[in-house]
Structures are given as structure tokens and as C-alpha cells.
Amino acid sequence: MNLNPPLIIASGPGGNGEYLKLINPEYIGAYTLKTVTLNPKKGNLPPRMRDKEHFVINSIGLENPGINHFIENIEKYKLNVKTILSLGGDTKEEYIKIAEIIDPYAQYFEAIEFNFSCPNVKKGGLSIISDKDEWEEILKKVRKILPNTFLIAKLSIEGNFVETSSQIVAKHNWEGITLINCVRGLIIENGKVITGGISGPILKPISLRAIYETRKKLKDIYIIASGGIYTEKDADEFLEIGANAISIGSALFKDPNVVEKIGKYLKGVKK
């Protein structure tokens, strides 16, 4: 992928292009859509989000209309920036089936990211990589179904050493990896336990380490850095440690102009 600036709106917080009403697309390299699964998902019951000092915790649960509805309305998802499609599933069969369904439409997207790390669903998501053989079969078959698509695996630091998971992705000739997804977390609010995925500045050192370790093992894979990028300095650090592009999620909630500011910086100063 050749993105200018090397800045991507992360899947999830950015929705399906809604932030283009608030951010100048000139400063966005690519926009990742919300994860679409084979079947529609209603998502999790509230509470779905909270924020505390230095982090956001969310439990959206991949609410989406399903791949058939997505395809029927595909015109609506065509944005005026390069677009990355995010796909997910509950089972091996669902990941393979959704790849087959999207094949005729893959050309519309700059890349397709497969979400192997959502912490907020009971099946699929993060748990899909716990069975290494099954996960490898998904990687192998999806590669075969989509031979000309720039394929990205979105990984978590959980379930396996992230550099080991990344090596498995590379072994099956996928072009890219997104490091890292939210990490499972918990807060207690008025005595009630709220679980979800943690994002925000608290993730930055964890994500930096994940990218550092992965880049040591894999010189050529395209790495999209995700986790706590809120400033130009954050972006610099991730790119210096070995990321090819940075991805912004929860910072959108603080101020959409954060993206524009970092995008301008990457497009100008860092050109």
C-alpha cells in the first residue's frame, strides 16, 4: 500500500466514514470500515463504553448488518478516500465463506483487513487464533480465495506472542498486519463489573513493544501501528520503531482534529 499520509482511521471508532464530515480527507491515507461479519450482529447490551484517565474501555460487540446487507448497499460504503474493508467471523467456516462472498467486490478496496482479535465477542474474534491449525487454515484458504488482494491480519497481544502470530501471517503470504487491537480489560463502576477492550494512550508502550519485536523478525511485512496514537510525536515513534503506517481510533473521540493535525504533519514534515 502506498498511503500519503501513512495514516489510517482504525476499524471501529471511525464507523463507516462518518468522520469525513469533520476531517479533511486530504490528511487521511485510508479509512477502515467497521468490521462486517457473515451474519448480522446486534452487538452487546449497554454499557458499551466508558473512559477513564488514559484509556477508553469498549464492548460494542461488532454490531453490523452482515455481509449480504453490506454488499446490497456497497455504494454507500464507497468513500472519497482510500478504503480498507474489515471482515470478521465466529468460526473458521465463516471467515472462509465471507472471503468467498467478498471476492467479486474486493477490487473496490485498497486492502481487506481480517479481524482476528476482537475482545468483545463470545465466539470468533480473539479466540479464533487459539487453535493454531484452524487459524492457519483460514489464512491459507483466504489467501487462495483472494490472491490479488492486499490482505491484512489484525492481531492482539493476547492468545500468542504477537511476533509469533505475525510470523504465521507472513508464512501464508499475507501482505500486512495491524498491531495491536484492544486488550481485554475491566473496570468497576458503582460495584458493577464492566468488561471490554482497552484502547487509548495506556496502550502505547505495549503496542510499541509489539511492533518492535515483530519488525525484528519480519523485515518486509507491512505493519500498521495501532494503540494510543494521539500526537505527532506518537506517530513519529511508531514509524521509527518499524511501522509503515499509523492507525488512529479512540483519539477521534477526544478531537477529530487530532487526525488532521497528525495527517498534516506526516504529509509535510515527514514527507
Partner: protein, 214 residues
């Protein structure tokens, strides 16, 4: 939709922990809301209304974020207007609210024929042009004695809304819902509400819903 700085005009203390904050130059329609920056990571939603002929919100201090909105001398960043316009049915309405929705109630009375009842947990420290009740007992008594209206709008805490809903009967009841929001623009899906017509989102389908839909 704008993402810009707001200029604060006045801050008026309403009760122990709730303040009316007025601004200059915000364009919006009845029922819409605004996402305002806080010192925390995520902007917070406030329903818009008017006070002293200025755009206004009512803020209950619950933590550092809301405290910042009330106390900062700086201009505050926000994006707005968000959500759907509210158009009540014809006839006379009754607006039953907590102090956090008083600016909304004020705006409705300017545009539509309605009465207002404000239920405040703590004594009001500022004179308001509406009927009010202090504490749960007085509020409950006043709700139970309400005459019949053509439509009702209820806006407050979930407990307050549930209590009022248990006491009134009408085909025209509207409820302003509150849920944690990340974006306010339909992107993040954090403010989901499970309705009879499927999953809706307070930020794009509300914040005011018909009760019979919920």
C-alpha cells in the same frame, strides 16, 4: 456539522451540583445535542436549549470532565448540532425534567404550548420560571396530581423517568434517553438502545424517542 470552539457567556448555579452554561453562536434545532470536550479522553453529550435568549446547556458536575466544562475560563471545543429535531404533537404538553434538562424545557416553552415540572434532588439556588419540586417525595406528589395533557416529554435520570412513566398514561409520551457516547455522530455504536424496531442509536435516531417504540 461544526467542530469548533465555543465561547462561554454565563455560568449560573442552579442547585448543589448543576449549572446552566450559556454560549454564543450555536445553531441547532429543538431536541438536538452537542458533544463537548473534557479533560478526559471522550467528549460528553449535552442536550441543547436556551437560557436568557442564548444557546445553553445544563451540566451536572459528576467528575473532572463536567467540572472542567463548568469551571474553565477557556473556550471549549465541541461538535454540533447532533441528533434529530423534536416536533411534539398538537395540543398542550407537559415537560417533566430534572435540572440537567432545564434549558431544553425553556426552549420548548418558547416554541410550543406546554407546562413544565422540574424535579430537583437538592434545593434550587436560582429562581426559575417553572413549577418545581425538591426531593423525591414532593416530586412524586406533584407527578401523581398532574392533570391530563395531550403529550408528555420526560427527561432526567433513568430512575426518574421510570417513576414518571409508571404514573402517566398517554399515547403521546416521549422520552429523552441518555447513554454513554463516544462520537455523537453514529460511528462508534456505543449509545445503542434495543427497541421494538431493532437496535437504534441515541446519537442518530434520538435523543428523543417515542415511549411506545422502546
Amino acid at each position: 456539522m461544526e467542530n469548533t470552539y465555543l465561547t462561554k457567556k454565563d455560568v449560573i448555579k442552579l442547585n448543589k451540583d448543576t449549572y446552566i452554561v450559556t454560549f454564543e453562536n450555536i445553531k441547532f434545532e429543538l431536541g438536538q445535542f452537542i458533544m463537548i470536550e473534557t479533560k478526559n479522553l471522550v467528549r460528553k453529550p449535552f442536550i441543547l436549549g436556551t437560557w436568557n435568549n442564548h444557546p445553553a446547556i445544563s451540566v451536572q458536575i459528576k467528575g473532572k470532565g463536567t467540572e472542567y466544562i463548568v469551571k474553565t475560563q477557556n473556550n471549549i471545543k465541541a461538535h454540533f448540532p447532533l441528533g434529530k429535531k423534536f416536533i411534539p404533537p398538537s395540543g398542550k404538553g407537559m415537560v417533566i425534567i430534572s435540572p440537567t434538562c432545564i434549558t431544553l424545557a425553556n426552549l420548548i416553552t418558547k416554541e410550543y404550548n406546554c407546562d413544565v415540572l422540574v424535579g430537583s434532588k437538592t434545593p434550587l439556588e436560582y429562581k426559575i420560571p417553572f413549577e418545581f419540586a425538591t426531593g423525591d417525595v414532593e416530586f412524586a406528589n406533584k407527578v401523581e396530581k398532574l392533570k391530563k395533557y395531550d403529550w408528555y416529554l420526560i427527561s432526567g435520570s433513568k430512575a426518574m423517568e421510570n417513576f414518571v412513566l409508571s404514573k402517566i398514561e398517554s399515547n403521546n409520551i416521549y422520552v429523552s434517553l441518555e447513554e454513554y457516547m463516544g462520537c455523537g455522530i453514529g460511528a462508534c455504536k456505543s449509545c445503542a438502545v434495543f427497541t421494538k424496531n431493532g437496535v437504534k442509536h441515541i446519537c442518530t435516531d434520538g435523543p428523543i424517542f417515542r415511549r411506545d417504540e422502546l
